[in-house]
């Protein structure tokens, strides 16, 4: 095992943080689910999640690291108050190469007392090099336990029409590239509208990622997109910060950030 991989898989090396996905209901917000994100070991190059997962893919050890991340994520989520829905990032290659992954995930969830129907698997990095039949079987197995499927980074790379057909996702997560600045960019608004209409036809809900600017809420609303995630609402939070933030309290939805900005025609 290489030194960096050893660092990544060392006990207590990985940190779990949660970022709320919120539902926009009129001028109110409520928590829809929590995305469980993994941060790599401090003081290594893998401290940056983008570097860590690029390294993991290049070493072709996605199943090993995905298992570790989800195990930690489930344990961290199980300690949270309430029963929020949860999403976990998983490489398409893990689902396509690790035939035991779905059953293991369900067993791990069961062990910590999380019903699989609370879980959404976000499929990331869809570059090929895995077995299509194993991939399809994994999705069927996960669904049979009540888990949902999300397609991440829609609009970029391999997150394309073929993956929409192949995965039948319940969620399509639009990359921040198309969201950020949409209030002032007709092309981005056209892409948002197009994906929202496509998702409607395919029976999926759209999540807008990377929302940082209240002005971008209007084009989302105009497109009929009512799920969003980003620093405007909450940055990724460690469990104690998340609990202190109030997002998990079973109270009424909280007021949305002001959205009284004019949107260019």
């Amino acid at each position: 095992m290489t030194p960096l991989l050893r660092d990544i898989l060392a006990t207590d090396a990985l940190q779990i943080v949660f970022q709320p996905v919120v539902e926009l209901i009129g001028d109110k917000l409520q928590l829809h689910m929590l995305e469980c994100l993994t941060r790599g070991p401090r003081n290594t190059n893998a401290a940056r999640a983008d570097v860590m997962f690029e390294y993991v893919r290049r070493k072709r050890v996605e199943p090993t690291v995905d298992r570790a991340c989800i195990l930690l994520g489930l344990h961290a989520a199980a300690a949270l108050p309430g029963t929020p829905d949860l999403s976990f990032n998983t490489h398409a290659s893990t689902l396509g190469r690790d035939s035991e992954f779905p059953a293991l995930l369900v067993a791990m969830a069961d062990e910590v007392g999380i019903d699989p129907s609370r879980i959404t698997i976000e499929i990331i990095e869809h570059a090929h090099g895995w077995d299509g039949a194993t991939f399809d079987r994994a999705l069927r197995t996960l669904r049979s336990f009540g888990a949902r499927i999300a397609l991440d980074d829609v609009g970029l790379g391999h997150s394309n029409y073929q993956m929409m057909i192949d995965t039948h996702p319940q969620y399509m997560k639009i990359d921040r590239y198309f969201v950020h600045g949409a209030h002032a960019d007709l092309d981005r608004r056209a892409v948002l509208d197009s994906i929202a209409q496509l998702a409607l036809r395919l029976g999926a809900r759209v999540v807008a990622e990377g929302v940082e600017d209240t002005r971008d809420l209007l084009p989302l609303s105009d497109a009929g997109i009512d799920l969003a995630q980003g620093y405007l609402f909450a940055r990724p939070l460690a469990a104690p910060e998340l609990i202190a933030s109030g997002w998990l309290q079973p109270s009424a939805p909280i007021a949305a950030p002001a959205r009284s900005f004019a949107c260019p025609a």
């Binding site: 290489t2 030194p3 960096l4 190059n45 940056r48 983008d50 570097v51 860590m52 690029e54 390294y55 290049r58 070493k59």
Partner: protein, 124 residues
């Protein structure tokens, strides 16, 4: 401030060269293997990459893969390849793939740093 990536599978060289180049006022990242360097290069733009030709990989010339990657993903990044055993053909291949310089690993760190600073357009 120049941002430099040093790639070598020998910790002592990484440490010593990192310290030396940081002393020139640069920010330094280090990587011990090909995939670690590739993951950094995929996400960070460096001004200069200093890479050992041989990185404990399968074919013994992983540095050439890095040169090719740098030329493809960040053409303005300068590249120095260090070699202890490389043949003349290997050195030619590194230059053909786009390395800006091929230096012998026995070269004093001060001279390597001097090459690096000149490539970056800075006085050493």
């Amino acid at each position: 401030m120049a941002h430099i990536l040093i790639v070598d599978d020998e910790e002592t060289i990484l440490f010593a060269m990192g310290q030396y180049i940081m002393a020139q006022g640069c920010t330094v990242d280090t990587a011990r293997e090909l995939e670690e360097a590739q993951a950094l290069l995929s996400n960070i733009r460096y001004h200069l990459v200093v890479a050992d030709l041989r990185l404990s990989g399968i074919h013994g010339s992983e540095g050439l893969d890095l040169v090719a990657m740098v030329r493809e993903c960040c053409p303005s990044t300068r590249v120095i390849v260090l070699t202890a055993y490389g043949s003349a053909e290997m050195q030619q291949e590194a230059l053909r793939r786009g390395a800006d310089a091929v230096l012998h690993k026995s070269m004093p760190l001060a001279d390597v740093a001097d090459h690096a600073m000149r490539l970056l357009g800075c006085a050493a």
